[in-house]
Structure formats: structure tokens, C-alpha cells
């Protein structure tokens, strides 16, 4: 991190009646950084975001946005942009009309509105659809306009709640590029996602939350290296699903069933180990259609955390 944190959360604790949803969370995001907040449903991510947005007063701990508390100092929220999970736009209005509306509601001054809209559309690559009603846009464009509406007032911190939920791979890539572009101009980005592949490829740092706690935090590569060392992930795609005897033999080879006839293992031997495994499986009458070798991903780490196999 080259910049000091612009958003910090320290010792955040919160409970709804008797249900403790945050149990002492620390988090910081710097300018020009993308931080992905991960975790299963009920982990406390939404409550944490609400506290950061000044919508909720923590029972304990504090949130600081450029040094100010967004709950007690509403002006602090001027530096914050929120991209909600759903399409927070007026679908019957065009892209430009939506942006004009949200610019006014974001207190952008009248003479600056057009320049601000042009800038936001350029950053989100939506200018070519400026006069199309939002409801007629593709899912990917809608998602980008959703982001454009949140950056009109040039926030220092942008929060994205599941920004690509329900969109296809191409649209997700387009949204990811927009987020990278915002990072590159110095915006601190905090996003929540269930898409671990997206977090892996996009985030400078990730935080795993579970049961109101930050279980693990760091750069994706560092976390993966820390958890898996030199291990590589070997994926075996069998020609046909094995019978019970076959499953026992696969398990004996250290392979775990992923889905259907896809079996997975971690092995420091990498490609050499994969070659040997191919030979042994064929001898056992378990013909692989394909064997792939790749670096372990956040998905593997997430599975380990979920299974509580990683020491925190």
C-alpha cells in the first residue's frame, strides 16, 4: 500500500437485539486500491457496509471516512459512492436522464453537471448509449450505468455491493475493467462479491468474513501461497462417472470429488505428478478425458476456510 488508508474500520461490533452480527472487525482501504470483502451469507458484510455508509451506528468500534465518522458527520459521506446490488436506476429514463437526476441528488452544481456526466460515462464506457432508456440496455451496460450514477460526485471511496451478480462473463469483464479504471485514477474501491474468480483477478486485497469476524485478510496471491505453499491444483475430468469401487480408488489417489465426474487434488508435484496420475488412473480402468494443472485459487482457499482446515 503506497497511500495511507482513506477508509478505516476499527473494532466494529454490532448486534441486532441478541444476535451478534459483527464481532470486532478491522478493515482499511487506501486510495487506488481494490479491496474485496468475501464471505458467506450472514457473515456480516451487509451490516459492515451499512455502518460504513453511515446508515447504522455501531455498538462498539468506529468507522472513519477521510478521518470523519459518516454516521455523526453527514458531510463525510460526500466522499462516498455506493453501487447497490440491484439496479438502482429509473428504468424508464435514458442513461443521460438518470445521470442528470443522480448528479442533482448528489449535490453536483448545475454548471458542472454536463461535464460530470460526460466524465462518468467515459469512465464507465456508456457514452454510446446515452440516449437509450435503461430498461432497453443489456445487463452489462445496466451494471456500468449503475456504477456511473455512483461516481458523479467524484467520491474518494466507492462501495460496490455484488456489482456483477447475474451478468455473463463478458459483461463481468467489462465491469471489472471499469472498476480497475477507477482504481487507476485513485479511487479506493471496496466491493463485496460471491464471485471468487472475480475477486482473485480484480482485488489488490481480500478479506474473508465469517460469523461477524474477519477470518483472513491479504493479497490473493499471498493468502494462496500462505495456505497452499508450492501445491498446484490438479483437476481430473473422467470420461464417465466412477462406480463405488472407482470412487474408493480415486480417493486412495488423494482425489476429492468436485462435481459429477470432476475430481480434484492439491499436489506440489505439479505437471509431473499429473502425468504419473494419468498413467495410474488408466491402469485402474478410470480413463481421464482431461487433466488440468493450475495454481490454487481463492475458491480453494474459501473451501478450506469453510471446512475450517486453515488455521487463522
Amino acid at each position: 500500500m503506497s497511500h495511507p488508508p482513506i477508509l478505516t474500520v476499527s473494532g466494529a461490533k454490532h448486534a441486532f437485539v441478541t444476535r451478534q452480527v459483527l464481532r470486532g472487525v478491522d478493515l482499511s482501504v487506501s486510495a487506488g486500491e481494490i479491496y474485496a470483502l468475501l464471505g458467506p451469507n450472514g457473515a456480516g458484510k451487509t451490516t459492515l457496509l451499512r455502518a460504513i455508509c453511515g446508515r447504522l451506528r455501531l455498538k462498539e468500534g468506529e468507522v472513519r471516512l477521510a478521518g470523519q465518522d459518516p454516521w455523526s458527520v453527514p458531510a463525510a459521506r460526500a466522499g462516498l459512492g455506493l453501487v447497490p446490488q440491484d439496479l438502482a436506476l429509473y428504468p424508464h429514463m435514458t442513461v443521460r436522464e438518470n445521470l442528470q437526476t443522480f448528479a442533482r441528488l448528489s449535490l453536483v452544481k448545475g454548471p458542472e453537471i454536463e461535464a460530470t456526466i460526460t466524465r462518468a460515462m467515459a469512465l464507465t464506457r456508456t457514452a454510446d448509449r446515452a440516449h437509450v432508456p435503461v430498461k432497453h440496455l443489456s445487463g452489462g451496460y445496466q451494471r456500468r450505468v449503475n456504477i456511473a450514477a455512483a461516481i458523479l460526485h467524484e467520491p474518494k471511496v466507492l462501495i460496490l455491493d455484488e456489482p456483477t451478480v447475474g451478468v455473463d462473463v463478458d459483461a463481468r469483464e467489462a465491469v471489472d475493467n471499469v472498476i480497475r479504471g477507477l482504481r487507476d485514477i485513485g479511487v479506493a474501491v471496496l466491493l463485496t462479491t460471491h464471485d471468487l474468480e472475480q475477486a482473485d483477478g480484480l482485488a489488490d486485497r481480500v478479506g474473508f468474513m465469517r460469523e461477524g469476524r474477519m477470518m483472513l485478510e491479504g493479497s490473493p496471491r499471498d493468502l494462496i501461497t500462505h495456505a497452499f505453499g508450492e501445491d498446484m491444483e490438479i483437476l481430473v475430468h473422467l470420461v464417465q462417472e466412477p462406480d463405488t469401487g472407482g470412487e474408493i480408488r480415486l480417493a486412495a489417489e488423494g482425489l476429492n470429488k468436485s462435481s459429477g465426474n470432476l475430481w480434484v487434488k492439491l499436489d506440489p508435484g505439479g505437471y509431473a505428478a499429473a502425468g504419473k496420475l494419468d498413467t495410474r488412473l488408466r491402469k485402474l480402468g478410470l480413463t481421464p478425458r482431461e487433466i488440468r494443472v493450475r495454481q490454487p485459487s481463492l475458491q480453494n482457499l474459501f473451501t478450506l476456510i469453510a471446512d475450517r482446515k486453515v488455521a487463522i
Binding site: 458531510a75 459521506r77 462516498l80 455506493l82 447497490p84 429509473y90 455512483a150
Partner: protein, 403 residues
Amino acid sequence: MVMMSLAMFRVMLLELWRDRAAMAMSFLLPPLVFLIFSSVFSGTTGEDVKLKVAIADDANTPASARLVAAVLASPDLRAYAAKGDDAEGVRRAVRTGKADAGLVIRADPAAAGHPLLIISDPSRAVAAPLTQARVQQVLGKLLPDVMLKRTLDQIEPALGEFTAEQKVNAADSESVTAEDAKAGRPTPDGNMFDREDIQGAQKGGGTIAYYAGAVTILFAMFSAMQGALSLMDERRSGISDRLLAGVAGMGPVVFGKFIFLASQCMAQAAAIFITADLVYGTPVFSHFAAWAATTIFASVCASGLALGIVSLCRTRDQAQMISTFLILILAAVGGSMVPRFLMPPLLQQIGLLTPHAWVIEAYQSVLWRDAGYNSVYLSWAVLGGAGLTGLAIAWLTARYIRR
């Protein structure tokens, strides 16, 4: 085929059973509306209508005092002594809508001609004949001697002066008639009424003003509720979350909606009253300032209440159900469907809790009865207060909403 149909029947049944809003709309609203209408229309036969009648005694004779006392005590009327106890006080009470009709005792009830004057508002067409009938009942039952004296006084000039013996007999007859009345035996009566419509009255125009007001507030509430539902769409889509994370918050959104909805209500009212003016000659333009002020207060009320009510709901479905429920019930109780003076007294009192009653009353006062600003200040205050309270609720609630 039967089993498949039954399966679908079960789906529909469970859907209804588990949807409290639909259950309420299906089984609670209809009987409630029925109760309101049945209680209104069962009163319109004339038997149960209890009109509010202002009385003044200009005659000040023993018989007129007896009549006043009897009318005030009549269980079939809600009679009261008019302010000032004179004809002008009665006219004012009718013009301002405080009384459904008025009774002025101009001369001794036993006197010849039309000693009793009924003052009425033609927009309440049945009020005058009903009042007359009630007073006549009172005279026949409780003051038959006065009626007989009046008859004898009318006969005497035609036949020549009664002899002393005839005069004694007549006096005896009056006593007997009075005793018959006390004992509940039949007694003679006679027509002694004159009628007067309040000034400015134009046949049928009052009814038009009434219905123009009734339809205006009915549609104002309907369209304001529909418009206010967009608050729910903004919660659901996350627009509220987006704005609440900013500096401005939801305040400008709520206020912007309020201004729009109020403007929409005003435009609707203008369309209705311009039509009334063109087709029926309802005097909108000659009373423009008072009409415009009433329209503004009615629109503020409808818009503010709609936003306040919707903001207190948790879901769009809930808001939709409650708004439909309220639009119908408030319109029925408030007099948008049936004039309130035909309703039972309790329902009339309850009607004062609705904006409809105040809006209708205000429009009638300014456009029909020409009652002046003093008669509508209270209506304006109630409407404005209700609307601003609703707006304040919406404003405050918007700050704390959760999806």
C-alpha cells in the same frame, strides 16, 4: 382432469391463505364497505335521518316558546338555538354548513298565514321537507291546541264573530285537544310553513359543487397514493440506499415527490372544476382565490397523507393493499359517495376524521354557499395540518428505511 384441477385449486387456495393482504382485501374490506353503505342508506328512508336544525324565535310568544322547547327536545332532530336567536343567525348557520336546515318562528304559531320559515340549502334537497315534516309532527303531537286555535282564528272571520258560548266551547275544545295530545289521541293540524333557500342558491348547482369536491378528493387520494408507491420502488431497487449513502439523503426525494403529487392533484382538480364551470356553471372563476386556496390545501393533504402512509409500510404489496383499503373507506365515510348529512350522527362525526369531509365542506362553502373565508379557515387548517404531518412522517421515515 379433476385431480389436476383440484391441484390448481389448492395452489390458489394456499396463495390466498398465506397472503394476508389478499385475505383482508377479499374478506374484510367488502363487509366493512357494506356496513358503511347499509348504515348510510338505511337512514335515507327518512325514518332515521336526524337533521341538524338551527332555530330562532322572532315571535317570542308563549306558544312560540313552547314550540322551540318541543323542537329542541325532539329526538328526531338535532336542533339547537341559532347564534343571536334571529333569522340572520339561522341563515348564517345554513350557509356555513353548520346546520342542515333552519327554522325561524316569525310569528305566533297560532297566527294566520305562514308563521314558520324553513331555511335550507338546495344542495341538501331533502333537508327542507324533512325538517318541515319533523316540525309538523312536533306541532301535531305536542302543540295541537295551538294548531286548533290557529284553525278557529282562521274560521272566525269567515263565519262572523263567535258568540260568547261558542268562544267558551272553542276554548274548551283547545283544552281537550291539548289533553288528547298528551294522551296520544289524534288531533288536527295545518300547513303553516314558508320556505327560503339560502342566498346565491341556484337550482342543482349546490349538488354539482358537492360532487365536484367529492370527486376531486377521491381522485386526489387515488393518484397521490399511486404516486407515493414509487417510494417503495426506490427502496426495492436500492435507489434509497444509494441516496442515503450520500450527503443529501432522501429528503429531496420525498419533497420532490410531494411537490409533484400536489401539482398533479391541483391539475386534476382544475380539470374537474373547469368542466363543472363549463357544463353546469359552477362559479369557479368568480370565486377563484378561495377555490385555488381550497384546491392547494386539498392537494397538500392528499399528497402528504399518501407519502406518510406509504412510508410507514414495509413492502409495496402492503402499501398497495393499505392504500386501496383507505381510499375506499375514507371516500365512503367522508362523503365522497353519499352526502354526509344523510348518514347517522356517529358516522358523520367519524367522517370528520377524513380529508374528504373537510374538502367537500370547503368547496361547498366557497363555491355554493358563498359563505366567505371565515367558514373555510378551519377546513384549510385541518387539511394543511394533516398533509404536512404526513409529509413529516415520510421525511423522518425515509432516513431510517431498510430494504
